[in-house]
């Protein structure tokens, strides 16, 4: 990227050799075939990775070793056996079978070559039949033909790897040191992707970095905000840097569809699904886990979507993302996925299964990690028509020891919600009523951090109420529930919202209701990331109603509307909140920025608006004691910022006034010029109008004239009563 000519250079060169650039049709220039004048395409090296295989042309050939050595008479029989095995996996090319003979003995040599239609099939065949037992003494050893070359190249002598000199990288956390403590955000609209500062004081965003065609499908911040990931056809890339966005690493994974970072952003999981060459076959799913910093593939998983589909009973189509769920915490130590009747837990030291085997859990339906600890919560539905109850259990990893289990009866569905500190787990349980015709909902509340993990049952006051949304207060002990009477849901589109606390002042061990707000136009809950405040939002059907609610004081701070809003995102500090209308519908695409208490700061309109994401911040290094101290002495700290705020607002209004004055002056100049020209042309105009001198150019004047009219005057004597 270093020796790119700037446009100015080009213009200078053109002027020197006498070419008029404006006359030049750039599209008409054809480079000689194979010549690129040293201009390296950005994507070349990714292509190279793929092409090297295709060029060799042998990537669809496998070598099967350890076959029986047979004389010529049995050649055909063996060929049939091998063909039968491999034709189940893929299509062998017409003359794609070759089993060489020893010219001396006229016997086979114990290996053969198979050429498939596609490299994918070859790879699949290798995976499936490596270690295939033809009989006791003939266990297949299958290799890719291309690998042979590679293995041959390995030198016999080990040479120590060259150690590269250390070059200090950029400070990838530079944005956190912003003097005004602003947050960054990324937006994607049309073909452009732009990173902006949210400059709330100046009531506008400040551009930071912009690039057209930065990504081919979407962008994503890493969970701690260090990287911005872009997704392309050839793979994914991460970007970051101190003063701009440089590409830090690329991850080749052709046709990648989905990506997911581990919570400590050490690893990146990429997912793709390929159409098979044989339409009867299922799609082929490839999942790679990369080390974010080195770009190395740590482990890959391949198979059909069924292998990765979640849901114990099977029959669930498609893959639910993320397939691999990461255990909480910054260490990125464990990740797990659910298969049929098993939970496979891997650890990242070796990228293999913990204890070398998966956990057997019959019919497991759902699982989730605690956001902070290596604890898994599992849900297993009812079995055998109710003979075996459904259960929710908590399992400690890596010991795989069950910490707590709760059996539940006549359950139709279960959903698990962890509080962000991993202190509480709420399990929403839908149970059948006695008639089995309808369901009602209750909550099982686990207190993870307390001794023996006590469980409490919470039921709504009105049993018919259906739960529309549930949300824990981040880092807090409260939660909010939107519920609505099921029986007359159609007549009553205004649901109620209730707030509960896991420990109220006088009762620390029990859940208690704080309040219920009746008849709200809301269907989604958005807690501030620091708690205390919540937005009760009516998206979709409710056209973007917003209510900013203070849960400490139990009062509404503001109500507002962002018409047709589709997304709501709190900034990581909980100071500002963005509401956005993304490109699901045509009109009014763009975003609004509000303060936490519902004051609209500014709005930006962008056509074809696709994404809005705040840049996450890593957790604070301050100890809880220090944070408490700051909260206590907030006045002292805030003084400085208030003064700054005031300066800015004075500056702004000054600037505004100045700008207006300039505009007015500029306008006056135009008007004076026009008046003069108009005067000059007066005579000509008069002639054009056949001498009609009515050029008193209609000087209307607005006058407020007050006319008072006495319509009626009545005098009457009003009786005065004691």
């Amino acid at each position: 990227m270093a020796d790119i000519m700037t446009y100015n250079d080009i213009e200078a060169t053109a002027a020197r050799i006498g070419i008029d650039l404006s006359q030049l049709d750039l599209d008409s220039i054809r480079l000689p075939a194979g010549e690129d004048f040293g201009i390296i395409s950005d994507d070349e090296d990714i292509y190279n990775v793929d092409n090297s295989e295709l060029d060799a042309g042998f990537s669809n050939i496998i070598v099967v070793d350890n076959l029986p050595v047979v004389p010529l008479e049995k050649f055909e029989k063996l060929e049939n056996v091998i063909r039968k095995i491999y034709s189940q996996i893929g299509v062998i090319k017409d003359d794609g079978f070759w089993m060489p003979l020893d010219p001396e003995t006229n016997k086979t040599l114990g290996y053969c070559f198979l050429e498939f239609n596609t490299p994918q099939e070859a790879e699949l065949a290798k995976e499936r039949t490596h270690g295939y037992k033809l009989d006791r003494s003939h266990i297949f050893v299958v290799n890719m033909f291309n690998d042979f070359d590679r293995f041959m190249c390995v030198p016999d002598q080990w040479a120590p790897p060259e150690s590269k000199p250390y070059t200090p990288g950029e400070n990838l956390q530079q944005w956190l040191t912003d003097e005004k403590a602003r947050d960054q955000l990324v937006i994607r609209y049309g073909a452009d992707t732009e990173v902006l500062w949210n400059d709330a004081r100046h009531l506008k965003p400040e551009p930071f970095y912009k690039r057209t065609f930065w990504t081919e499908s979407f962008v994503q911040w890493s969970p701690l905000g260090t990287y911005l990931a872009t997704v392309h056809r050839q793979g994914a890339a991460v970007w970051g840097g101190a003063s701009t966005f440089n590409r830090l690493m690329r991850y080749a994974h052709s046709q990648v569809r989905l990506i997911d970072f581990s919570p400590g952003e050490k690893y990146l999981v990429t997912y793709s699904s390929h159409e098979p060459s044989n339409p009867r076959d299922a799609n082929r799913v490839v999942i790679n886990i990369f080390d974010v910093r080195t770009g190395k593939v740590m482990r890959d998983f391949k198979g059909s979507p069924d292998d990765f589909a979640t849901g114990g009973a099977g029959g669930v189509a498609g893959v639910s993302w993320p397939v691999f769920k990461w255990a909480g915490g910054k260490d990125d130590k464990y990740f797990a996925r659910m298969g049929k009747n098993v939970i496979s837990v891997y650890e990242t030291e070796t990228f293999s299964l913990v204890d070398k085997k998966s956990m057997k859990v019959e019919n497991v339906m759902d699982f989730s990690w605690s956001p902070t600890d290596p604890i898994l919560a599992l849900f297993v539905p009812e079995l055998g028509g109710g003979n075996q109850p459904a259960r929710v259990s908590l399992v400690q990893i890596p010991a795989k020891e069950e910490l707590r289990q709760k059996n539940l009866f006549s359950v139709s569905d279960c959903k698990m919600y962890w509080q962000s500190n991993g202190e509480y787990l709420a399990v929403k349980v839908d149970r059948y009523t006695k008639t089995k015709k309808s369901t009602y909902t209750g909550f099982e509340l686990f207190r993870i951090k307390e001794r023996d993990i006590p469980i409490e049952v919470l039921e709504l006051e009105n049993k018919n109420d259906k739960i529309i949304a549930f949300a824990w207060e981040p880092k807090g002990h409260r939660f909010a529930v939107i519920h609505c009477d099921n029986t007359n849901a159609n007549n009553n589109p205004r649901p109620d919202i209730s707030f509960y606390s896991m420990r109220s002042a006088h009762n620390t061990g029990r859940v208690s209701k704080l309040t219920t707000l009746k008849g709200k136009q809301a269907n989604a809950l958005y807690w501030s990331p620091t708690g205390h405040f919540i937005i009760l939002a009516g998206l979709k059907g409710f056209n973007g109603q917003l209510e900013f609610y203070n849960v400490d004081e139990l009062e509404t701070m503001a109500t507002a509307e962002h018409f047709m809003a589709t997304d709501i995102e709190w900034d990581p500090t909980g100071r500002y909140v963005a509401t956005a209308v993304t490109s699901v519908h045509e009109m009014e695409n763009g975003f609004n920025i509000w303060t936490f208490n519902g004051k609209l700061l500014y709005r930006i309109l962008k056509d074809h608006f696709f994404q809005f994401l705040w840049r996450p911040r890593p957790p604070s290094f301050l100890t809880p004691e220090k944070e408490e101290e700051i909260a206590k002495n907030l006045k002292k700290y805030s003084k400085k910022y208030e003064a700054e705020d005031q300066d800015v607002s004075i500056f702004l209004s000054e600037q505004d006034r100045e700008k207006r004055r300039m505009l007015k002056e500029e306008w006056e100049k135009w008007v004076a010029q026009w008046k003069q020209k108009h005067e000059e042309e007066k005579e000509v105009r008069k002639n054009l109008r056949d001498g009609e001198a009515s050029d008193e150019e209609e000087e209307y004047e607005a006058k407020a004239i007050e006319v008072e009219e006495v319509i009626n005057q009545v005098e009457e004597v009003v009786a005065f009563e004691e």
Partner: protein, 326 residues
């Protein structure tokens, strides 16, 4: 401000024009009958019958004696304003769109649409003072711009013609020789079809509205961009107050999209902007459908809007309006 709802047209409105005295309002619509109304109380005076297609544009002479209309029936017609009598018909090979009388009313500019093999064109016609002397020949024909020419108006002293249309370029032509004098700077110009153009009273500057969701103010003589007004929806119609430093923009989403979304999302409001500061100062709601036409009364005390819904809404400003301070 209680608007007067004027229902006379059966199809979407296309154009509105006040006469110089501001007592008459002429309206064109996709039904075939241009209509004249009292500009004060909205009473219908009469219609001009004779066109056989949508009427796109009209202009009235300074003395309010003649009306010229351009129609999709491939004609432009001259009318006697008072009697409604057809005086003359200009025939073309394709639909006529914009019409404009020159200063002195001795010339008229008429644009025609591209149609089959015929390209779009700007015609200059001489207008005889006596109807019986009127001839159909064009004094000048200008060709060149791609696509429809939505508006063509006379420049100062009839020396130039300003045109704008589908190719989003504003052009100034010499009205004598037909030479192209100027095109606007594409850097700052509109990005999509220019739908409307309104001159200031003295003709020194004009305002263009475009589907790129903006309106721009230009100097007529130099074609310098002076102001840009950014809005949230495609602009179909623009008007400038002759009295205050205000401009009005009207528009909305495509008619085909209207039924699929809430009426609020369409934004069928007439939006008022401060002409100098380029800031929005207010809006007038009412139409159920995009606004296609806007016109200010020459006295600046009332304005009217015509919508896709077939209504003309006549608004007399409250006294508060004249005291707006921002």
């Amino acid at each position: 401000m209680r608007p007067i709802l004027m229902k006379g047209h059966e199809r979407p409105l296309t154009f509105l024009k006040y006469n110089r005295d501001g007592d008459l309002l002429f309206s064109c619509a996709k039904d075939h009958n241009p209509t004249v109304w009292f500009a004060d109380n909205g009473e219908r005076l009469g219609t001009y019958r004779g066109h056989n297609g949508a009427v796109w544009c009209c202009d009235v002479s300074r003395d309010s004696a003649r009306l010229i209309t351009g129609s999709a029936d491939q004609t432009a017609k001259l009318w006697n304003v008072q009697t409604g009598q057809q005086l003359f018909t200009f025939n073309f090979d394709s639909p006529a769109r914009a019409v404009d009388f020159s200063v002195g009313d001795k010339l008229a500019v008429i644009t025609t649409d591209p149609f089959m093999d015929v390209t779009s064109a700007i015609h200059v016609k001489r207008i005889a003072s006596e109807p019986e002397d009127q001839v159909g020949e064009s004094a000048l024909i200008l060709k060149g711009p791609q696509g429809r020419i939505n508006r063509a108006v006379w420049g100062p002293l009839n020396r130039t013609i300003i045109s704008a249309g589908e190719d989003a370029v504003i052009r100034i032509w010499d009205s004598e020789t037909g030479k192209l004098l100027k095109e606007n700077d594409p850097e700052v110009g509109h990005k999509k079809t220019i739908t409307s153009l309104a001159k200031s009273v003295d003709g020194s500057h004009f305002l263009t509205g475009s589907l790129d969701k903006s309106a721009k103010l230009w100097d007529t003589r130099t074609l310098t961009l002076i102001k840009t007004y950014v809005t949230e929806r495609p602009v179909n119609a623009v008007a400038m107050s002759p009295l205050c430093d205000h401009v009005v923009l009207g528009g909305g989403q495509d008619a085909s999209m209207v039924t699929t979304t809430d009426h609020r999302s369409g934004k069928f409001e007439a939006k008022f902007y401060d002409k100098i500061l380029q800031e929005e100062i207010g809006g007038v709601k009412g139409h159920f459908g995009p606004i296609n036409a806007l016109a200010f009364n020459p006295d600046g005390k009332s304005f009217s809007s015509g919508g896709e819904d077939g209504y003309v809404r006549l608004h007399h400003f409250d006294s508060d309006y004249f005291n707006i301070k921002i």
